[in-house]
């Protein structure tokens, strides 16, 4: 170790830091004599764009199936189950990924969802759901949250891909066209009321309305 490293970080270090902060503040509030106001405004604008874009990119990065399935809770349970459903492979080759159904495409909703997701990171780190059994024990609660969310936003995510207006009931199966005409087009029910468990296995359904 050199002598320089051994310099005691006591009072001297603190006063130096404080003085530096004061000087910095002075510089910051002093009107610029070097750059014109226009240049400064422009620089601020560009920096703003970069920060906003960076934030957006960070959100986009976490908004991928790769990110979601990075956690074994998601990969070994819900993702494994999704693979056998029509939303993973179908004749048209259009796929629905986790964020298509679970993170709203709307900006403010998006941030609200991310804040809620912090709780999941907590659950991951502290291993509240680290085995399949524990996941199944918790499944009803998680599913209830999702159903409540779909119910509250009138199945917004489903409708991002499936629009009731674009449904050609003459092309649908008889049961589908009857049910959609009676309850969907009249606004009496929303997709999630009738289409539970289309993407993952169901939790214990006793007590869920319409099931026994």
């Amino acid at each position: 170790m050199s002598d320089v490293d051994k310099a005691p970080p006591g009072k001297g270090w603190f006063t130096r830091a404080w003085r530096f902060a004061l000087e910095l503040w002075d510089v910051l509030i002093r009107p610029s004599s070097v750059f014109g106001l226009g240049v400064l405004v422009l620089a601020g604008f560009v920096a703003g764009v970069i920060f906003w874009g960076g934030f957006n990119t960070a959100l986009e990065l976490t908004n991928t199936e790769k990110f979601c399935t990075g956690c074994h809770e998601m990969r070994d349970n819900v993702f494994a189950e999704l693979k056998s459903t029509i939303h993973f492979t179908n004749r048209s080759g259009v796929r629905a990924t986790c964020p298509d159904c679970h993170v709203p495409h709307n900006w403010t909703d998006k941030i609200a969802r991310k804040m809620q997701a912090s709780k999941e990171v907590w659950g991951h780190i502290f291993g509240s759901i680290d085995t399949r059994d524990k996941f199944i024990d918790n499944r009803l609660e998680l599913a209830l949250h999702e159903w409540a969310r779909f119910k509250a936003n009138d199945s917004l995510e489903c409708r991002n891909c499936h629009s009731a207006q674009s449904m050609d009931i003459t092309k649908q199966s008889p049961r589908a066209s009857v049910a959609h005409q009676r309850f969907l087009f009249t606004g009496e029910k929303t997709c999630i009321d009738c289409h539970k468990g289309i993407a993952h296995h169901l939790p214990d359904m006793r007590g869920v309305p319409g099931w026994q």
């Binding site: 199966s173 009857v178 359904m205 319409g210």
Partner: protein
């Protein structure tokens, strides 16, 4: 002498029978033209019949076939998708026929309050149908045809 010619006749009959069997085995085989020791190409999957129109039962005790697709319908310990339409309380909304009263009976003929455990796994008895031509024709004749065949006044 008789014994010898009998053996010859028997041998010829055997050869004829087995070769005709062999020829038949190749021609009318359900496996198609693929040789026995090879696996032929899988036939294309046929679509499920999905008209939701009831099909005639072949005899009164027959579990009716399912006239609609059941892809992805979960029936296990956690839930029964079939009963979300066919249960008594659900038929108003789904307009599906209710599971009949026999489905509430236990093995002693006692009626239970809800669907009996032995009738819970519906596809044990009810199966969906595919739109396809069966490789083997069926010459089943239902009881009404047999009853009608009987001459009037004849024995029934």
């Amino acid at each position: 002498m008789i014994g010898k010619s009998a053996i010859v006749v028997l041998a010829i009959a055997l050869i004829a029978a087995s070769s005709s069997l062999l020829a038949q085995g190749v021609k009318s085989s359900l496996r198609g033209p693929a040789p026995l020791n090879e696996e032929g190409p899988a036939p294309p999957m046929t679509p499920m019949r999905n008209t939701a129109e009831r099909e005639i039962r072949n005899y009164p005790e027959q579990p009716p076939v399912i006239p609609h697709s059941i892809d992805g319908y979960q029936v296990d310990m956690n839930g029964n998708k079939c009963l979300s339409c066919h249960a008594r309380a659900r038929t108003g909304e789904s307009q599906a026929p209710m599971v009949s009263i026999t489905h509430f009976m236990d093995r002693d003929g006692q009626f239970l309050a809800s669907v009996s455990p032995r009738r819970y796994f519906c596809t044990e008895c009810h199966v969906p149908q595919n739109v396809t031509t069966p490789p083997v024709t069926n010459d089943f004749v239902d009881i009404d045809s047999i009853l009608n065949r009987a001459a009037p006044g004849g024995h029934r």
